[in-house]
């Protein structure tokens, strides 16, 4: 059927796909460069380094949610809960078993993964708004457990004197070295998501998100995939929680609340579902903005709520949908006049 035209279309699109692969690789490289260059400029200001590392924590948390929500459409309001479980698991394991940060870090990842599988089995049968509400339940319950299981978690007092990590015999404390460690972790997550988005798993996840019945019909094991990706997402949040606990040195249950979960969710919406660069920028904006808008901190949730509504109404594709940014966002940007970017971006 019209072979020559098809050939032309094929080579044109192949060429554009190659260009887009290149530009999204460049985007990831630029991101890495910016991330690792930050300490060069603000390294001597403890306050700015603290802001910078907080941004990284949020970005990592937002990317973990991007995996389940952005790619697979599993909307979860429980990301802060898994972040908290990671933090507590790591702190407690390091404390009681004397295995240091690295033992705690691995324990946090395993614990959140297994717990998410157990919790996901019943809840992920739900879809759409029902799932969202069920995850709000999970979030509230998990935070209550952290708060009330005092024999283990010390309740509201929290856990103090969490050991700092050691790497190559050196203790890594707050400041530039810790920033670099979190930056490496964030890069690991970003590269993982990038690879997923470009390969089989990413396409099957997007199919699941887009139309469950059709995904099943082409042979995607939808329920197993949703549980697996929910667990992987929780494990990434758990690992981030571990890094947070050992950074901050003392944790209490109040940090890991529904507000944090909602904030992270807005970061993903602002950045654009499944857009790796977009979500990173979204996380940076929503971390830095409140720092400079302390005056309105009381109204933050009101503003986020309004923002969430406006985003879904007018910018369903988030930052990744903005024309200026589109070029550097990868495959979904292939069609110039089309507005599709929510597909596979980098």
């Amino acid at each position: 059927m019209q072979t020559t035209v098809a050939q032309d279309a094929k080579s044109a699109i192949d060429e554009r796909a190659r260009k887009n692969t290149r530009s999204s690789l460049i985007a990831v490289a630029v991101l890495a460069l910016v991330m690792f260059a930050v300490p060069v400029f603000v390294g001597d200001s403890p306050y700015l380094m603290q802001v910078a590392v907080t941004t990284l924590f949020f970005a990592a948390l937002a990317q973990s949610l991007n995996l389940s929500m952005g790619f697979a459409g599993v909307v979860s309001f429980a990301q802060a809960a898994f972040y908290g479980i990671g933090a507590y698991t790591s702190a407690l394991v390091a404390l009681h078993f004397g295995v240091g940060f690295w033992g705690g870090f691995i324990a946090a990842i395993l614990m959140t993964f297994v717990l998410a599988v157990i919790l996901g089995l019943p809840t992920l049968r739900l879809g759409g708004p029902y799932l969202a509400i069920a995850t709000i339940g999970l979030q509230v319950i998990i935070q209550s457990v952290l708060l009330r299981w005092t024999s283990l978690t010390k309740g509201p007092a929290g856990i103090n004197n969490i050991v700092a990590p050691t790497l190559f015999g050196m203790q890594i404390r707050q400041g530039v070295s810790y920033y670099l460690m979190v930056a490496v972790w964030l890069m690991v997550i970003i590269v993982l998501l990038y690879r997923i988005s470009r390969t089989r798993l990413g396409y099957e996840l997007l199919a699941t998100r887009e139309a469950e019945g059709a995904a099943l019909a082409i042979g995607v094991p939808v329920s197993r995939l949703r549980i697996a990706i929910f667990a992987l997402s929780a494990a990434l949040a758990g690992g981030t929680g571990s890094l947070y606990a050992h950074y901050i040195g003392s944790i209490d249950p109040y940090v890991f609340d529904l507000t944090l979960s909602a904030t992270v969710l807005v970061m993903v919406l602002l950045g654009g579902r499944a857009s790796i660069i977009g979500v990173t920028i979204g996380a940076a904006i929503l971390t830095l903005l409140p720092e400079y808008l302390q005056a309105v901190s009381n109204y933050r949730m009101v503003l986020y709520g309004a923002g969430m509504v406006l985003l879904t109404l007018f910018f369903p594709k988030g930052l990744a949908g903005l024309a200026i940014l589109r070029r550097s966002f990868g495959r979904g940007a292939r069609k110039e006049q089309g507005e599709g970017v929510a597909g596979v971006d980098a």
Binding site: L206, A215, K335
Partner: protein
């Protein structure tokens, strides 16, 4: 290839399928027709695993697949399209088809994420499968279009392309030309004729020009029961079929 035995599906008190038995042999193009509400789509849903039957069995390629999940049946080689178009709306045409193709990869998720050499070359080989499939259904030039922005007729073709990309042995088409004009219908008929060299086709359709034009055999359902099964010409003259469609009179639509 496909054997459906005493298939029954109840929805509460409604017997959507009532003791239906038929088979489809390898290489056949079989039409499944009947008035609205006869149970045709229910029959597809049960065969494809989207619904579990109340009673009866479905065998595909000598395997009893009754009650299997839809994804498992798909991986065994049954593909389908949907009456109410179900694309991946935010993905491009190319990505829609590629998503179907990757489900057949030998390399697992992890091998692909790690970018192992054989996973890479397998994925690259699939790209030409996607191009061939798009060319076959005439959508190669639309490869870059976001699928929800396609004209209606093209969306139906995309569904067929996506089904084909899973490299099925049996393909179930649910009203592939619904809402299409005569020339679009002729294109799809041409496509089904091309498919038959490598695929077995079971097609639900109200458009009699298509049914009479491409089907080797026609099965007629009415009120969940099979009332006829035979060559198109014979079925067209069958008293019970005419009665089912018209309650006795000669059906203009059926003859046309």
């Amino acid at each position: 290839m496909l054997e459906v035995v005493n298939l029954t599906k109840h929805f509460g008190g409604v017997r959507a399928l009532d003791d239906v038995t038929f088979s489809v042999s390898s290489g056949e193009v079989v039409g499944l027709i009947g008035p609205n509400g006869a149970g045709k789509t229910t029959c597809f849903n049960v065969i494809a695993g989207a619904l579990k039957p109340t009673a009866g069995t479905v065998k595909f390629a000598w395997t009893d697949v009754t009650g299997w999940s839809a994804d498992r049946i798909s991986r065994l080689g049954v593909a389908r399209t949907f009456q109410n178009i179900a694309m991946f709306p935010e993905l491009t045409v190319w990505d829609n088809v590629y998503a179907a193709a990757v489900t057949r990869m030998k390399a697992g998720y992890l091998q692909c994420v790690l970018g192992l050499p054989w996973a890479r070359s397998e994925a690259r080989a699939l790209e030409s499968v996607v191009w061939d499939t798009l060319a076959l259904v005439g959508l190669a030039e639309e490869a870059d279009t976001i699928s929800s922005q396609l004209p209606y007729g093209y969306q139906r073709r995309l569904e067929i392309a996506r089904a084909l990309a899973t490299r099925p042995r049996l393909i179930l088409l649910d009203e592939p030309v619904a809402g299409m004009n005569a020339s679009e219908t002729a294109d799809i008929m041409e496509l089904i004729r091309k498919l038959r060299s490598e695929h077995t086709v079971l097609v639900i359709e109200h458009d009699m020009s298509l049914v009479m034009g491409v089907c080797d055999r026609v099965i007629v359902l009415d009120n969940g029961k099979k009332i006829a099964d035979g060559e198109p010409d014979a079925v067209q003259r069958d008293e019970r079929v005419i009665q089912a469609y018209l309650g006795g009179d000669i059906d203009a639509e059926l003859i046309a």
